[in-house]
Each structure stands twice: as C-alpha cells, then as structure tokens.
Symmetry: C2
Subunit: 112 residues, 2 copies
DNA sequence: AACTAACATCGTAATAATACGATATAACGA
DNA sequence: TCGTTATATCGTATTATTACGATGTTAGTT
C-alpha cells in the first residue's frame, strides 16, 4: 500500500490501529473466540476447526502473538496458545476509552 | 491479497473483522477521536488537523461511513460528518461481547 | 539413529489498501 | 453567469496482506 504516515499520529492512535488490525480478519476473530471458550489450543486444533492450511493458521497465530493478544508455551512437541490476560484487559480498556467518549448530542441524537 | 475465505466464518466473525478493519488505521482513529471531541467536522478541518491530502481524508471518511461508524449531512457547500450514535453503541457492545468472555484460568493466570 | 508428529518459516502468486495528483461535481455568492 | 469553495471520485504507483505448497526445525518414539 502507500506507506502509512505513522509520524503524523500519536502513540495511542498508532497503537489502537495496530491492535485493530490484529482483529481485522475473521480467521483471527475465530481463533480468539475459540480460545475464549477452550482456554488453550494448538495449531492443529485450529486447522481442523477453521479449515485453513496449517501454514496459514501459523501465520495468523504469529500476528496475534505479535500484537500481544496471545502467548504461547511449548508443550512437548506442540505449541500451546492462550490469550494473554493482562494485555487482553489492557486492550479492552484502550478500546473502551474510545468507545465511552461519545457524548449525547441532542434531543434526538442529531449530531450533524 | 489472497482471497479471504469469508464463507468459512460466521456472520459475527466477519462483521467484527470488518469493523476492526475500519479502526485499523491511525488516520481513521484520529478522525474518530476528533469527532468524539468536536461532535462535528468537515473534510477540510481534518486536512488541517492531520496533514494528509484532501483526497486521502475523503477516502478514509468514506470507509468509516461504509462501516456505519459515521454519518454525513450536507451543510451548504460542505459535508458535515459525525459519529453514528446507535451504530457506535452497537459496535461497542459487539467488541465488549468478545472482550468480556475471558475467564479466569488459574491462581496466577497461567492459561497455557 | 531413524521415524513421526507438530509447528514455524520461506517463497511467491494473487489481491487489497494507501496516498495523492488530477479531474469531476455541486452549492453558494457577486 | 462566472468564480469560488468544498468534496467526491478516478487513476495509479507503491506497499501490505492473504493463502498455501515446500521446506526447515524440534521433541518425542521405537
């Protein structure tokens, strides 16, 4: 793409955008939802669950991990992933910090 | 990109991903934050505020509008944008529906 | 050691997103 | 009407993302 002009924006704006990008694919949402239910899973679970190739799942997992949403622990031969609890809550707070800033703007909410 | 296999995922997963994509650029976060403060703005406000070209701002505004996050009203010669209140709250609920599903997973939060 | 199972990484083709100049379009005022 | 102001849209070069086969890597098994 054209290069995003990161320097024009605040640290918070860039951070929120990076986090949102991690959520911005249905496969990654599906992975997160699976983990919210199952607490833990390995790559091959998700290959069966989602029907994407192993390499593709691995790539999505890495992106979620890079964003800090997941952590991975070696479990014998396989890699066990789970949601990173502290970061998850921080992300929640960051988004809600934005969501909650909306203000009532008129009797019928006619802002503009 | 390789084509995203939308049909593999649920409606909610695809919707969340589309919304997250709308948030996944610092310029769009900046636009939303500006609107949360100012309630209303026009294209040229943002050109001055953000330092991106007029065409670029217009493109970002369209994406935010397509995602349902903004609404626009004609105001004489210019276009007045504001946050779409109902959709904004629905988006908030959708994300929190996900954020809040995290469960305590152990004495030290060692999930995996 | 040889084999297997489970992943990660590489390479790459296909496709999407970003930025912006150039060019429409539309409303208002003189 | 003509010019001005404010946006939208088009075209396009550049860069990023997605998916997956092929190949590497590592831990356990026989």
């Amino acid at each position: 793409m054209g290069v995003t002009k990161t320097d024009l924006f605040t640290k918070e704006q860039n951070e929120l955008a990076i986090l949102a990008k991690a959520f911005a694919h249905p496969a990654r949402i599906a992975i997160l939802q699976h983990l919210l239910k199952a607490n833990t899973c390995i790559n091959s679970d998700l290959v069966n669950e989602l029907g994407l190739a192993q390499a593709t799942i691995s790539q999505h997992l890495r992106e979620l991990k890079n964003a800090g949403l997941l952590q991975g622990n070696i479990e014998g031969v396989s890699m066990s992933y789970c949601i990173h609890p502290e970061n998850w809550n921080r992300v929640k707070d960051l988004f809600n910090g934005m969501f909650d800033k909306i203000q009532h703007c008129g009797p019928k909410d006619e802002c503009c």
